[in-house]
């Protein structure tokens, strides 16, 4: 499977998991990001994800390759949902297969952390009160400013 992909349809973790299987792998770790019904004190009814796909695919692939190299895992991949999502929907999936569990957890964590900070994907939240807003863009200039400087930081 591709190291990083987008999907406009519901994600299929079982299918992706099978694609990472390998006879040398004794461990598999996955992370699923779900849509929750609140954020920063506001009740959320649904979300929209938008991506700058041409660049996001490249940056996402770079992140997955970095994780494979850095942690020496067998295989890794990430799929991110785009479009309109409801509460409880799966927004992002990360999977890693490796010889042992420690590097599988570490690589999985690295990929989701980097994806959140570096890949050009935006989230618009729709609230119970009818309002909506782009996360990190509209509430507070200061917050967004801080965030922008974290973009290429070395975590992990």
């Amino acid at each position: 499977m591709k190291p990083f992909a987008f999907s406009h349809a519901p994600l299929q973790p079982e299918t992706y998991r099978t694609a990472l299987a390998d006879p040398t792998a004794g461990a598999y770790a996955a992370f699923e990001g779900w849509v929750r019904n609140h954020n920063e004190g506001l009740a959320v009814t649904r979300l929209e994800y938008e991506g700058f796909e041409a660049l996001a695919l490249k940056e996402g692939e770079r992140i997955v390759k970095e994780a494979i190299e850095r942690f020496g895992v067998v295989n890794a991949a990430c799929v991110h949902r785009l479009g309109s999502l409801e509460i409880g929907d799966l927004a992002v999936w990360v999977g890693v297969s490796s010889r042992h569990r420690a590097e599988a957890f570490a690589a999985c964590r690295y990929i989701i952390d980097e994806v959140k900070h570096r890949v050009p994907i935006w989230k618009k939240e729709h609230y119970v009160n009818g309002d909506s807003g782009w996360v990190n863009c509209e509430r507070c200039a200061q917050h967004a400013h801080t965030h922008a400087h974290e973009g290429t930081g070395n975590r992990g």
Binding site: G51, H117, V119, I121, W122, K124, N136, A148
Partner: protein, 291 residues
């Protein structure tokens, strides 16, 4: 994370303009009112940019177009405007520029930011006339808040004296006349004559005249909504993404400052100072929120 304060911009436009006998903020040197010109000059360098006004100026047609910081001590001159800004956003450093300095250029602002020392009260230019600090084209750090308040409270209004007596970093001007100011009708006439002699009368660095190029700009998320479109093809004289964003921000009233954005050229992350070429596709990337 560092503890360096983000830079906010403040255009000082609250003066009485008594010697000029007309409102200095409205004078035109570059084909636009000086307040607009100064605002656009510094906005690309700032997280947020404001104009300093007296309470009675809030509603005037030109000043009401901008985010404002209202003086808390009218009649105390520019230091009151700076002090009000430091109080209103105490965690910000303030890039302060007076609106009666028509010879300031973009390199003047950039050098100030590059040489900024956030550990001092302020970073300012040394006057080419008398060697003293120029407080009205300077970066005032959050630590200046208490100093300015105390200075005003003791009846002293002079921002220059404040900087002379404070721990202020002084740097040399890139051009000796960059901070010449204009206070009288005679000085205004002379300033316009000088500006018209320049090959380029805009605020950018002197360089070869750039002919316009055709650029494709794609918009995502909040910028897409504010622009009301997902892409456009434009002819622009912008030489780099800094200039292009300034142009588009003006046109579409984008709320995000360049400090909050990243830029991509032809689907790859790029530097804000990359020279733009005919046919390039540019994307300004708002703060991301995947996952």
């Amino acid at each position: 994370m560092t503890n360096i304060a983000p830079i906010f911009g403040l255009v000082l436009a609250g003066g009485a303009s008594t010697r000029m006998q007309q409102d200095k903020a409205l004078l035109q040197y570059h084909g636009r009112s000086q307040i607009e010109w100064a605002y656009e000059l510094i906005a690309p360098f700032c997280v947020a940019t404001f104009v300093s006004v007296r309470a009675d100026q809030r509603e005037d047609p030109i000043r009401s177009k901008f985010p404002q910081i209202v003086d808390r001590q009218p009649g105390s001159g520019p230091l009151a405007g700076i002090s009000a800004a430091l109080i209103e956003h105490p965690k910000a450093a303030w890039l302060v520029v007076a609106c009666d300095l028509p010879f300031i250029t973009e390199p003047t602002i950039r050098k100030l930011i590059e040489e900024r020392d956030p550990q001092r009260i302020a970073t300012a230019y040394r006057s080419s006339h008398d060697g003293l600090p120029e407080p009205l084209c300077a970066i005032w750090e959050p630590a200046a808040r208490e100093v300015a308040r105390a200075h005003l409270a003791s009846g002293k209004n002079c921002p220059r004296k404040l900087l002379i007596n404070s721990d202020c970093k002084l740097i040399d001007l890139p051009e000796p006349n960059a901070l010449d100011n204009v206070n009288t009708p005679d000085e205004l006439a002379a300033a316009n004559a000088r500006l018209s002699e320049r090959p380029h009368t805009d605020a950018k660095d002197a360089g070869a005249q750039q002919s316009s190029v055709s650029l494709r700009v794609q918009y995502f998320a909040v910028l897409r909504e504010q622009a009301g479109r997902s892409e456009e093809v434009i002819d622009s004289r912008a030489r780099d993404p800094v200039e292009l964003y300034a142009e588009l921000q003006q046109r579409h009233r984008f709320a995000l400052s360049p400090a909050q954005l990243k830029v991509a050229i032809n689907s790859e992350f790029s530097d804000w100072r990359t020279r733009l070429k005919h046919g390039d596709t540019i994307v300004f990337i708002p703060p991301v929120a995947g996952g």
